[in-house]
């Protein structure tokens, strides 16, 4: 298996900086912005976007994290049940504009599960999607609003996202 590095810590940081500006640009008079990351890597990316946004806006944004294992549609298809963790959304989601954050967008099934789960916490005004790497091959009608990098891939390839907070260093690799 060969791995090609397509993003390093500098390019990841530049992409997140640009995405933070795009989020502010898209939501001009937005005082109800909030971030929700999908565990594990999406939650870390949401934290990073959050600190960039608070630098731009001069205030902190409410940030939460989701564990979508309970909302997956493939429990009986997997060889073992997934390890579930609690979701933490400590703010009222009603009427918020929520930017949902994940590392890789592939089939769209994770995002579908996350959308369902957010609805269990209340009724946001709108939900936007921020993704570090869009690798294509959607199986559902889901489209990101903010993209770090578009990476056309073959189905058999794997995208590996590593972040310093959990993996010790920042990089995105394509493994084939």
């Amino acid at each position: 298996m060969s791995a090609t590095v397509i993003m390093d810590s500098t390019t990841i940081d530049r992409a997140l900086t640009r995405m933070a500006h795009e989020i502010v640009e898209r939501n001009p008079q937005e005082d109800s912005l909030a971030l929700v990351g999908i565990r594990t890597h999406g939650a870390q990316l949401a934290q990073r976007l959050g600190s960039k946004l608070s630098a731009i806006l001069g205030r902190d944004l409410p940030t939460g994290e989701l564990d979508i294992s309970m909302h997956r549609d493939d429990l009986a298809l997997r060889s073992t049940p997934p390890r579930v963790g609690p979701s933490r959304i400590a703010f009222d989601v009603n009427d918020k504009t929520i930017v949902l954050v994940d590392d890789v967008l592939f089939t769209g099934r994770t995002i579908r599960a996350a959308l369902d789960e957010i609805a269990d916490f209340g009724r946001p005004r709108r939900i936007q999607l921020a993704i570090l790497v869009d690798r294509g091959h959607r199986e559902l009608p889901i489209r990101p609003d903010f993209i770090g990098k578009n990476v056309p891939t073959a189905l058999g390839e794997r995208i590996g996202v590593r972040l310093a907070e959990v993996d010790g260093k920042d990089e995105v690799v394509v493994e084939k």
Partner: protein, 312 residues
């Protein structure tokens, strides 16, 4: 920890590994959070059917399993002994095969005979969860007790846990002893000598008939109800005498460690095994045990429903 859950059934605590127990308790933390949401329901078991087969009466365990299943979006059927064909002479095996023919995915069974869940698990493709079999095991009760202790004390290893009352007839006691000793707690049993036989020392716990000594250093006191329905004849003279000799009175409570937790699997007999005011005090976690029971049972149903390998 990278343990994965490979079992289709939860029959007891005795054959679980420490890692499996911790996986169950960790998963329950996630499911407890679901109960705090605006919508207290997740779609994990959508389209699955759970049958509560309660051949022995129970309200709280059955209700807890029913609500746990509903919060996971499963459909639930309740069957009680008096309302089933068991009273018409149908065997447990035939009842179970009929439930399987209805495509039941999970059968939660309570039965007066020890081993009944094991018997069904060998017979059925469906998952079988033991909700209490005779005086043998009540695994979800032990798990919720451990979950509550871990939540309140931050750990289980090294704690002194005293189980007080009817041990002989108690499946709760057996499951608790197995679980707590596996996780490294020091377990002490106490109560009337007729209900706390010395043979329990073989389970790796301590037996003492000196109640004062049993509770003095306890971090957790788990009070068990006197199970009149399971005793062939009265094992002690009167409930009044039991209350005086073994009940958790205000006087005994005052001599406990200041942070000792008071637990009880319910239903409580106020004034017998526990003083009424103590049952309602801040250190009693009896109602939190009920809340945690729901989370633990959701975790059990979730894990037993995942990744079935097709083994019968």
């Amino acid at each position: 920890m990278n343990t994965t859950w490979q079992r289709k059934d939860l029959l007891g605590i005795q054959d679980l590994s420490v890692d499996e127990i911790n996986l169950l308790l960790d998963s329950a933390t996630a499911f407890k959070e679901v109960g705090e949401r605006a919508v207290k329901k997740v779609p994990s078991l959508r389209g699955k059917t759970l049958v509560n087969l309660f051949i022995e009466p129970s309200t709280r365990t059955r209700t807890s399993f029913e609500l746990a299943a509903k919060r996971l979006s499963a459909d639930v059927i309740n069957i009680t002994a008096t309302a089933s064909s068991l009273v018409k002479g149908e065997t447990l095996k035939d009842t179970a095969l009929n439930l399987q023919a209805l495509n039941a995915d999970i059968i939660v069974i309570r039965h007066s005979a020890a081993g009944a869940p094991y018997f069904l698990s060998k017979l059925l493709k469906a998952s079988v969860v033991n909700a209490g079999d005779g005086a043998h095991e009540h695994p979800t009760q032990a798990l919720l007790d451990a979950f509550t202790i871990r939540e309140k004390k931050g750990r289980i290893a090294g704690l002194n846990v005293t189980i007080l009352g009817d041990i002989l007839y108690s499946r709760v006691a057996r499951s608790n002893i197995w679980l707590l000793t596996k996780l490294g707690a020091r377990v002490t049993l106490s109560g009337p000598a007729t209900l706390v036989p010395r043979m329990f020392e073989e389970f790796g716990c301590r037996v003492t008939y000196d109640v004062e000594e049993a509770i003095r250093d306890a971090d957790v006191i788990n009070l068990l109800r006197i199970q009149h329905e399971r005793q062939r004849k009265t094992m002690f003279p009167s409930t009044g005498e039991y209350a005086a000799l073994f009940g958790l009175s205000k006087e005994r409570f005052a001599r406990l460690k200041p942070d000792a937790l008071i637990m009880h699997p319910g239903p409580i007999n106020r004034g017998v095994e526990i003083d009424s005011d103590i049952a309602d005090c801040g250190r009693s976690v009896i109602l939190e045990q009920v809340t945690n029971g729901l989370a633990v049972r959701m975790a059990v149903l979730f894990l037993c429903s995942g990744g079935q390998t097709g083994e019968p």
